[in-house]
C-alpha cells in the first residue's frame, strides 16, 4: 500500500497553504498559462527574464495541493537561475516524478523539490506536479499558446 504521507509531505502541505511568489508580476516580460483540462488546475506564470537569467518569477492560479505547492516551490527554486540551469532542473524534476525506475533523482540538485519524490507512486497526479514546470518551459520558449499537460 502506498503511503499518503509520502505524497502529502509537510513541505507540500505548507506551500499549498501559504504559496510563495503568489502574485502578478507587474514588470513581467514573459507570461504563460497552463491548465489541466481534466482536473481544472490553472496557473499563470510571470517572469522577468534578463540576459537569459530569471530575475523575477511569480504565479497565480488555483488547483490541487500538488499543483499549487509545485508552482510555489518551482518559482522559489528557479528564481535567479539562468535559462539553461532552469531547464536542467526541469529535467531532473521530471525524471524524479515521472521517469523510469532506474532514473532516480539526485537529491543534491533538487533540494526542497525532492518533496515531490512520492508523486511517482501516484501516476494520476504526475501531471499536477508537472504543470508549473511545463508552463515555465513555455514561458522560457515564449510559446504563445496555453500549455496543457493532457
Amino acid at each position: 500500500m502506498t503511503d499518503l504521507t509520502e505524497l502529502y509531505q509537510q513541505t507540500i502541505i505548507e506551500h499549498n497553504r501559504s504559496p510563495r511568489n503568489f502574485k502578478k508580476l507587474e514588470h513581467a516580460n514573459r507570461t504563460a498559462e497552463g491548465y489541466n483540462a481534466i482536473c481544472g488546475d490553472k496557473i499563470t506564470l510571470y517572469l522577468r527574464l534578463e540576459d537569459d537569467v530569471i530575475r523575477e518569477i511569480a504565479f497565480q492560479g488555483s488547483g490541487c495541493a500538488i499543483s499549487q505547492a509545485s508552482a510555489s516551490l518551482m518559482t522559489s527554486a528557479v528564481a535567479g537561475k539562468t535559462k539553461v540551469e532552469a531547464q536542467a532542473l526541469f529535467r531532473a524534476f521530471h525524471d524524479m516524478v515521472a521517469g523510469g525506475a532506474d532514473a532516480p533523482a539526485d537529491p543534491g540538485t533538487l533540494g526542497k523539490l525532492a518533496a515531490f519524490a512520492g508523486v511517482r507512486q501516484f501516476p494520476a497526479r504526475v501531471k499536477c506536479a508537472n504543470l508549473s514546470w511545463h508552463t515555465l518551459r513555455a514561458a522560457l520558449a515564449a510559446a504563445a499558446e496555453p500549455v496543457s499537460t493532457e
Binding site: 500500500m1 502541505i13 482536473c39 481544472g40 495541493a65
Partner: protein, 422 residues
C-alpha cells in the same frame, strides 16, 4: 428519488433491502480489493459495473454465435442477425418505443447526440435559427450543437438554472421563439443529480412545434424510461452506464423524424443500391447504422436490459432514495463539506466540495481507503463556473450500493482532515 423517501430516519443499523444484498453478488468486480481494502465503488455516473449475465452473454456470443449480420445466408449469420435484432427489440421495450425501427444502435450517448446534431442540424438549421440547451448540460450536449451552429450560422441559447441546480421554466418559456429549431436537454444531470421535468419541457416545446432531444445517459440506470409518456422526439443512452458494455448505446427517434433526416455516416449496410452516379439509402434504422455494428455490444446491452427488467423498480427507487438521503446527511456531518446541487427532485448522485481542499486531493486520499469517487469538472465546466468551484468530488450510487458504502466514504473523508489539518 421521491420526496417521501427523503424523510427516512437516518438509523445506521438499517441493512440494505434483501433485493439489493443478493444483487451485489451478481457483479463480480464489486468483490475486488483496492489498496488492501474492499472496493467501495461510488463512480457509477461515470460507468457502472457489469453483472455476470452481461459478461456471459458477450462471451457466449463470441464462443458460439460470432458472424457478421444482415449479410450471410448461412445459418450462423442468421443466428447473429437474429440476436442483434433481438437486442433492438429489447431496447424498444426498455424505452417503450412504438417500433423497433425507432431504435438506432450507436456508440454512446455522445454519438447519439452528434448524430442528431449533424443530421437534423444540417437540414433544419440556418442563419438566425437557434438551438436551446440547458445550463447543466454535459459537454456532449453542448459541443456537438456548437459545431453545427457554427457551420450553419445558427445560435446556441441556454436555459438558466437556480442555485439549487433546478431549471428556471419561466426563463425556458421566454427563450422558446419562432427561431428555436430544437431543444436539447439532460434528463438527469451527471454533476448535480437534478432530475429535470422532461415531460413539461417537451410539452412546452411541442406547443410551438419544436422537437426535443433528451440526453438520458444518467436516467436509464436509475428509473424506468418511457419515451411515449415523455413524448420526446429523440432520447439517447449509453449501455455502459446502465450495467451493459462500453462502446454501445441507443438513440430513439420518432419514426417520422428519423425518416426525414439524411444519413449521418455513409458505408455498407445503410444503402439500398449504389452506383458511382447515385446511391439510394436503406430505410431506418439501417440508414443510420453504416458499417458492421457492435454486434457483441448490442447483445451485451440486451442482456443488461433483461437483467434490469427483472429488478423490482419500486424497491430500487426506494433504496436509492434512502441512499441519497442517508449519504447526503452523513456527508453534511463532515466539517467543511458543502453539497453542490440540492434540487428537490434528485437522483442518487451527490457532488460536494471540502472547504480548503481541492477535489483532486480528496479523490486521491479516499482512494487509499478503497473508495472510488470521481473528482473534477465532470465534463460540465459551465456548471462548475456557475457554482464558482473549480471542481467537485462526486459520489454516485447505483442500486447495488449500500449505506455501508456511504459510511466508508465518510470515514475516508476523515483522513482528508488528517492530511490537510484544520
Amino acid at each position: 428519488m421521491t420526496t417521501a423517501h427523503r424523510a427516512t430516519p437516518r438509523t445506521r443499523a438499517a441493512r440494505p433491502a434483501p433485493e439489493v444484498a443478493t444483487r451485489r453478488a451478481d457483479f463480480p468486480l464489486l468483490a475486488t480489493r483496492v489498496h488492501g481494502r474492499p472496493l467501495v465503488y461510488l463512480d457509477n455516473a461515470a460507468t457502472s459495473q457489469k453483472p455476470q449475465a452481461v459478461i456471459d452473454a458477450i462471451t457466449r456470443y463470441y464462443e458460439t454465435a460470432n458472424a457478421n449480420v444482415h449479410r450471410g445466408v448461412y445459418s450462423l449469420s442468421e443466428h447473429a442477425t437474429a440476436a442483434y435484432e433481438g437486442a433492438r427489440e429489447k431496447a424498444r421495450s426498455f424505452l417503450n418505443a412504438r417500433e423497433a425501427r425507432e431504435i438506432i444502435f450507436v456508440r454512446s450517448t455522445t454519438e447519439g447526440i452528434n448524430l442528431v446534431a449533424s443530421s437534423f442540424g444540417r437540414t433544419n438549421l440556418g442563419p438566425g435559427d437557434e438551438v436551446l440547451i440547458s445550463a447543466m448540460e454535459h459537454h456532449s450536449n453542448i459541443v456537438p450543437w456548437q459545431l453545427i451552429c457554427e457551420e450553419r450560422g445558427a445560435t446556441l441559447r441556454v436555459i438558466p438554472m437556480n442555485q439549487a441546480g433546478e431549471l428556471l421554466l419561466d426563463e425556458y418559456e421566454r427563450r422558446l421563439t419562432e427561431r428555436t429549431k430544437i431543444v436539447a436537454l439532460v434528463h438527469v444531470s451527471n454533476s448535480l443529480g437534478t432530475i429535470n421535468p422532461v415531460r413539461e419541457v417537451v410539452a412546452r416545446a411541442h406547443a410551438r412545434g419544436i422537437p426535443v432531444l433528451v440526453d438520458g445517459a444518467q436516467a436509464a440506470p436509475h428509473m424506468p424510461v418511457d419515451v411515449q409518456a415523455l413524448d420526446c422526439d429523440f432520447y439517447t443512452v449509453s449501455g455502459h452506464k446502465m450495467f451493459g458494455p462500453t462502446g454501445i448505446g441507443m438513440l430513439y427517434g420518432k419514426a417520422p423524424r428519423l425518416e426525414a433526416m439524411p444519413p449521418y455516416q455513409g458505408g455498407g449496410d445503410m444503402i439500398r443500391s449504389v452506383t458511382f452516379a447515385r446511391t439510394t439509402f436503406a430505410e431506418i434504422p439501417a440508414k443510420f447504422e453504416a458499417g458492421t455494428p457492435h454486434i457483441a455490444g448490442a447483445i451485451g446491452l440486451g442482456a443488461a436490459i433483461d437483467y434490469l427488467s427483472r429488478l423490482d423498480w419500486g424497491l430500487v427507487a426506494a433504496h436509492e432514495a434512502d441512499l441519497l438521503a442517508y449519504a447526503s446527511a452523513r456527508l453534511l456531518e463532515v466539517p467543511g463539506v458543502r453539497l453542490v446541487g440540492t434540487a428537490a427532485h434528485k437522483a442518487s448522485v451527490i457532488s460536494f466540495v471540502v472547504a480548503g481542499v481541492h477535489a483532486h486531493d480528496v479523490g486521491t486520499i479516499v482512494d487509499q481507503e478503497g473508495v472510488a469517487i470521481r473528482t473534477g469538472h465532470h465534463c460540465t465546466q459551465p456548471v462548475m463556473e456557475f457554482f464558482g468551484v473549480p471542481a467537485t468530488a462526486r459520489a454516485s450510487f447505483a442500486f447495488y450500493n449500500t449505506r455501508e458504502d456511504a459510511d466508508a466514504l465518510v470515514a475516508a473523508l476523515a483522513k482528508v482532515r488528517q492530511v490537510f489539518g484544520g
